[in-house]
Subunit: 91 residues, 2 copies
């Protein structure tokens, strides 16, 4: 299942997400995608940086993608930026 | 000069930075780098997305780099995440 390898970053402390990423790699994942929207984008970058600098030596950034998503709110549709940071185990 | 083609994103409204990027391309720049640190990272992504979706048709994302910078504060050194989004004119 693809979703098993995705960590959605929201408003929790950054270390919660770092732990989630480290856990997925510990469980044998080859790749983990860190995704976030809006203001949580900064925290997604923090998650990737802390994970790579402090916890996982043989994992690196494979790809970073930014995009725009349209979401429905009470007051109509609005655009929000999103980011996906793909971390991959080095072979 | 390299700095002429860099837009540093901070705490101003996002449209200030979009205008700065559009202006640099209008002045003939082939590439413009959008840089930000910490919480401003989300706004840097917004700047790139709005610029590409609403203003510049023949410009695309060339590269996105994230890194960790060590900065000096009153209470000692601290790490902060940073992002650089490189936009380039399509040939």
């Amino acid at each position: 299942m693809t979703n098993d390898n995705t960590v959605f970053v929201g408003n929790k402390p950054v270390m919660s997400y770092v732990l989630a990423v480290v856990t997925q790699f510990s469980n044998g994942a080859d790749e983990v995608a860190i995704k976030a929207r809006g203001k949580a984008i900064s925290r997604a970058v923090d998650t990737a940086e802390i994970t790579l600098n402090r916890f996982l030596d043989n994992v690196s950034k494979k790809e970073i993608i930014t995009s725009t998503e349209t979401i429905d709110t009470d007051t109509g549709k609005t655009n929000v930026s999103s980011i996906e940071i793909l971390l991959a185990q080095e072979k």
